[in-house]
């Protein structure tokens, strides 16, 4: 015991099984000389068995998952044109084309991202066709950077004129005889608002804000994809145009593989494939 404490006090180098206690050293030596419960050879014989089961199983699983993802991407890509062609045949000539430009404001002003999605749709009701008018006029106005289909309706009353600015997201502004009405008083103009919506044919869509954020999400997912593909460096400005036919990044045509990845991202993020004539435009 004194010998042990001495080792500590004097800072001597410790040696295995040299404790200063002869009997303890004897027991430790006996323990270290005990035959092994499982020999190295026996253990090594067990390992290859494990290799063929657990290891290969994991390896196979990895390939199955990878294969499934690729297959899903291909199927999604292939299905989209067929679906489109079928619906086009059913509704010959009856389609509209609308363009929505959505501005995304990030935490910094310079991070503004404009996403343009051009989408061809079929089966339009007469009401929807009316809605196109303000949107079309807005498109023709080249000064408009971000177009959201906002329109203004003027309603004349005995005591003045009420101007209601509205779009699919709801009422943007009400001006009663030149005075801007605060939002908490919008309920006083309920009848006027209903009239304005009826006149323009615009249908209030409460989920519009949500879909806007979905498009932001899509833009972010695509940008992430470009970074992952090493097609884009951090902080680098970009101008991506993506269709089913081609993907052009900063004026350069991307490879077929990269284009397919971007289309897969679109399908995964939005839950549907890009329509046949669909186009996604992201720039920063």
């Amino acid at each position: 015991m004194k010998e042990m404490q001495k080792q500590q006090v004097e800072g001597e180098e410790l040696e295995p099984r040299n404790t200063g206690n002869v009997q303890l050293d004897r027991l430790l030596n006996e323990a270290s000389a005990m035959p092994l419960a499982i020999s190295s050879e026996e253990m090594l014989r067990l390992i290859p068995k494990a290799n063929t089961s657990a290891f290969n199983h994991l390896s196979n699983l990895k390939w199955i998952i990878t294969g499934s993802i690729i297959l899903t991407g291909i199927v999604l890509y292939l299905i989209s044109p067929f679906k489109k062609e079928n619906s086009e045949e059913k509704n010959k000539g009856s389609y509209r084309q609308s363009t929505e430009n959505i501005s995304q404001n990030g935490s910094q002003a310079e991070d503004k991202v404009a996403v343009t999605i051009a989408q061809k749709q079929s089966n339009i009701s007469s009401n929807e066709q009316k809605v196109i008018q303000p949107i079309k006029s807005a498109i023709s106005n080249k000064n408009s950077i971000y177009l959201d289909g906002t329109t203004t309706v003027l309603l004349t009353h005995d005591d003045g004129v009420v101007s209601i600015e509205l779009n699919k997201s709801g009422v943007k502004k009400i001006i009663d005889s030149g005075v801007i009405v605060s939002q908490e008083n919008y309920s006083d103009y309920r009848t006027d608002i209903e009239k304005a919506f009826a006149q323009t044919g615009i249908k209030y869509n409460s989920s519009n804000q949500k879909s806007k954020s979905k498009q932001e999400e899509l833009a972010e997912a695509i940008i992430r994809g470009l970074h992952n593909e090493n097609l884009l460096l951090d902080g680098e400005s970009y101008d991506l145009s993506l269709t089913n036919k081609e993907a052009i990044l900063n004026g350069k045509l991307l490879s077929e593989e990269s284009k397919l990845r971007m289309l897969t991202i679109v399908a995964q993020t939005t839950g549907k494939t890009l329509p046949n004539d669909g186009k996604i435009h992201i720039r920063h």
């Binding site: 200063g20 206690n21 006996e30 253990m43 290891f55």
Partner: protein
């Protein structure tokens, strides 16, 4: 040769030199040889399954023994029937001159080791029986080398005391 075979081959290269150390570490703490075989096998298979996590060959020793320590300690915790001992290491020295200690065997050593607190038991077994250097134990347990040295000295004293306790207990049983 596919990547799975390469990985397997690499595993064997790293594992083979450590097998004896690993088994000795397990068997001195788990006396039951069947249990030892199970724990060593489980440790090895776990290490093989997650071998991809090992970034550098030098890390394999720590990786393997970390798995083994976890399994051994879990086993001991489940089987532990003893309250960890509290020993005042400043007690009077033991008298080894009477030859009574010669009656102790490796089973007694195992019993005494299991009664040591884990923080002393592990470095002691790794150092005395599994051929770990102080630096390696320091890396495995993430404690400074001086801390390990200090624990080893204390562990040796505690183990001697515990063995003395084993001897007294045996003598008491024999007398009764």
């Amino acid at each position: 040769m596919n990547s799975g075979e390469e990985r397997h081959k690499k595993f064997l290269e790293l594992y083979s030199p450590l097998h004896d150390r690993l088994t000795r570490f397990v068997q001195v703490l788990i006396w039951d040889r069947e249990e030892v075989r199970d724990i060593v096998s489980e440790t090895t298979l776990t290490a093989l399954e997650q071998f991809g996590k090992v970034q550098h060959p030098d890390a394999f020793l720590y990786y393997l023994f970390t798995i083994a320590r976890r399994k051994v300690n879990l086993y001991i915790t489940r089987k532990q029937r003893f309250v960890p001992m509290e020993i005042d290491i400043n007690n009077e020295p033991i008298d080894y001159s009477n030859g009574a200690f010669e009656l102790l065997n490796t089973k007694d050593l195992n019993t005494a080791l299991l009664k040591l607190p884990e923080i002393y038991r592990e470095p002691l077994v790794l150092f005395e029986l599994s051929g770990f250097s102080i630096k390696e134990i320091s890396g495995l347990l993430t404690i400074s080398e001086n801390g390990i040295k200090s624990r080893l000295v204390r562990a040796r004293i505690m183990l001697s005391k515990q063995l003395e306790g084993e001897l007294h207990e045996r003598n008491a049983k024999t007398a009764s």
